[in-house]
């Protein structure tokens, strides 16, 4: 099946339905080694659901997922640490895989939180915790990294540094990255392929192509696509308030 050895995960017309409501449907995308694929779209458009389909967290899906790697690093969008479990940053780094202390220190240094190594996980601020989450995901040197809004709560300069780090990781580890991000600048500059979601795939392609797309403009506003050219295309459908697709 895998004609291209670089493919890490491939979604074919994948969708997920929860109690009769489609969270997302008809998503096809491929993440390859060394490439960054970014999912963009408004709240509730199915970005996290798509990531969870790719990761195999959702089992009863429509369509198919082909996964060619088991070395996966995941930064979930939401994670709350229960206070009943005493756990330090160091223990958290070893949560899913036993890795060497030097690799732990390296990852924590890269994300700028090495000084928190022996702190209790529950005592971290939101931004510090995100940095630890990213460090944990990269420390296992994964082939596939899935980052669901990895820099939420991180201060502005830190955000830029972390995105630079993510780009660097993709280059140095040659790992494929599936990124969910609101930072359009990051999306436009560092990403190889953009998938714009709104319950289904609105448009996809290189960042330039997507920026030119009218649906993208409709979702994110004119300002977001200032780099667009005069290219336009006709819609064959519009979205109702509930996100349903209506053919013109």
């Amino acid at each position: 099946m895998n004609s291209n050895n670089n493919i890490l995960v491939k979604l074919n017309n994948a969708g997920f339905r929860q109690s009769e409501k489609w969270l997302v449907e008809g998503v096809s995308l491929t993440v390859e080694k060394g490439k960054i694929v970014t999912l963009i779209g408004p709240n509730g458009s199915g970005k996290s659901t798509t990531a969870k389909i790719a990761l195999g967290i959702y089992k009863n899906i429509e369509g198919t997922v082909e996964k060619y790697t088991t070395k996966v690093g995941y930064v979930p969008q939401k994670i709350s640490i229960d206070w009943t479990l005493p756990i330090r940053v160091y223990d958290f780094m070893l949560l899913t895989e036993t890795i060497e202390d030097s690799a732990i220190d390296e990852a924590l240094s890269l994300t700028g939180v090495i000084h928190l190594k022996n702190k209790n996980l529950g005592s971290l601020s939101g931004g510090e915790f995100q940095r630890v989450l990213i460090a944990r995901a990269i420390s296992k040197k994964p082939e596939l990294l899935v980052l669901d809004e990895p820099v939420q709560g991180v201060d502005y300069t830190g955000e830029i540094d972390l995105y630079k780090l993510i780009k660097k990781i993709s280059d140095t580890l040659n790992c494929g990255i599936l990124l969910i991000s609101h930072d359009l600048h990051m999306v436009m500059t560092a990403t190889d392929y953009v998938v714009c979601l709104n319950g289904h795939v609105c448009c996809s392609g290189s960042p330039i192509d997507v920026a030119k797309n009218n649906e993208y403009k409709a979702l994110f506003g004119e300002k977001a696509s200032q780099i667009l050219t005069t290219y336009e295309h006709k819609h064959d459908h519009v979205h109702s308030d509930e996100g349903e697709i209506k053919k013109n």
Partner: protein, 267 residues
């Protein structure tokens, strides 16, 4: 050496504490104390089965508790009742059915107090074998599923995404719960087994900063509770279960002072 009933009780209790320590931590972390209650209440039915069909009590209790766990999982899938209501339903109905069955078994004289609260006189040399070999097996299996179980306790999706199979770990842990209840029922009594699981673990939570330390302190707390409890049980002629749990409670209260101290230090 095991001729003396008190030595037997002590050896049995120490074996139990080694197992309830780590398992109790997961009961606290995963909020399963009511689940533990339900399994141990159903153990009475297992005990009556053992007497009726002349089976080993531990094996019979283990089987019944496992069946109750399976029924619970099915009920959760097929009804719209909340989890705590289902747990209460199973806990009290299995306890009630167990007591009714005992009423019918007029040819056997039951020591109900001993069943409910534990009896140090009841521990035989065979029981020691069951406790120590069963306990060793439980600990080995727990060690094998430690990583997926802990990872999914922290975050289920993280464990699933990174290929740790948390569902399998959870299913195995449920079986281990049934097993620990089976080996500790004679000693601690079916009403107090959950106390043996959660009180030393709760004490350990107050003085630990990592999962491993909490498991270690939980075992030490359980061992101290057993030793203190059994000596006072002998001294004051009280049931073994309540004496052990009361000792665990004293340790828990002492551990609260440690928290107070660390809060003061922070300020």
């Amino acid at each position: 050496m095991f001729d003396d009933f008190f030595i037997r009780a002590l050896v049995a209790g120490i074996g139990i504490a080694f197992v309830t320590g780590p398992l109790g931590c997961f009961v606290v972390w995963r909020r399963l104390s009511y689940f533990g209650d339900t399994l141990s209440h159903s153990a009475l039915l297992g005990v009556t089965m053992a007497y009726t069909f002349d089976l080993n009590i531990a094996i019979s209790v283990f089987l019944i508790s496992s069946v109750i766990a399976l029924i619970l999982i099915q009920l959760q899938k097929r009804t719209n009742l909340p989890g705590d209501a289902l747990l209460g339903l199973l806990a009290h109905s299995s306890l009630a059915v167990g007591l009714v069955v005992i009423g019918f078994l007029t040819f056997i004289r039951f020591d109900i107090m001993g069943l409910l609260f534990g009896d140090i006189l009841a521990v035989t040399t065979d029981d020691l074998l069951v406790i120590w070999s069963g306990g060793a097996l439980i600990l080995i299996v727990l060690k094998l599923i430690w990583k997926p179980l802990l990872a999914s306790t922290v975050n289920y999706e993280l464990a699933e995404a990174e290929g740790l199979n948390p569902d399998r770990a959870k299913a195995i842990f449920t079986i281990l719960m049934a097993a620990v209840i089976a080996i500790s029922i004679k000693m601690v009594g079916l009403l107090l087994i959950t106390g043996m699981l959660i009180i030393p673990a709760a004490m350990a939570r107050n003085i630990s900063d990592s999962p491993q330390k909490m498991v270690l302190f939980s075992i030490i707390g359980g061992l101290l509770s057993v030793i203190l409890g059994l000596y006072s049980s002998l001294e004051f002629n009280t049931s073994s279960g309540p004496s052990i749990i009361a000792a665990a409670l004293i340790l828990f209260i002492l551990s609260l002072f440690k928290i107070k101290q660390s809060i003061k230090l922070k300020n």
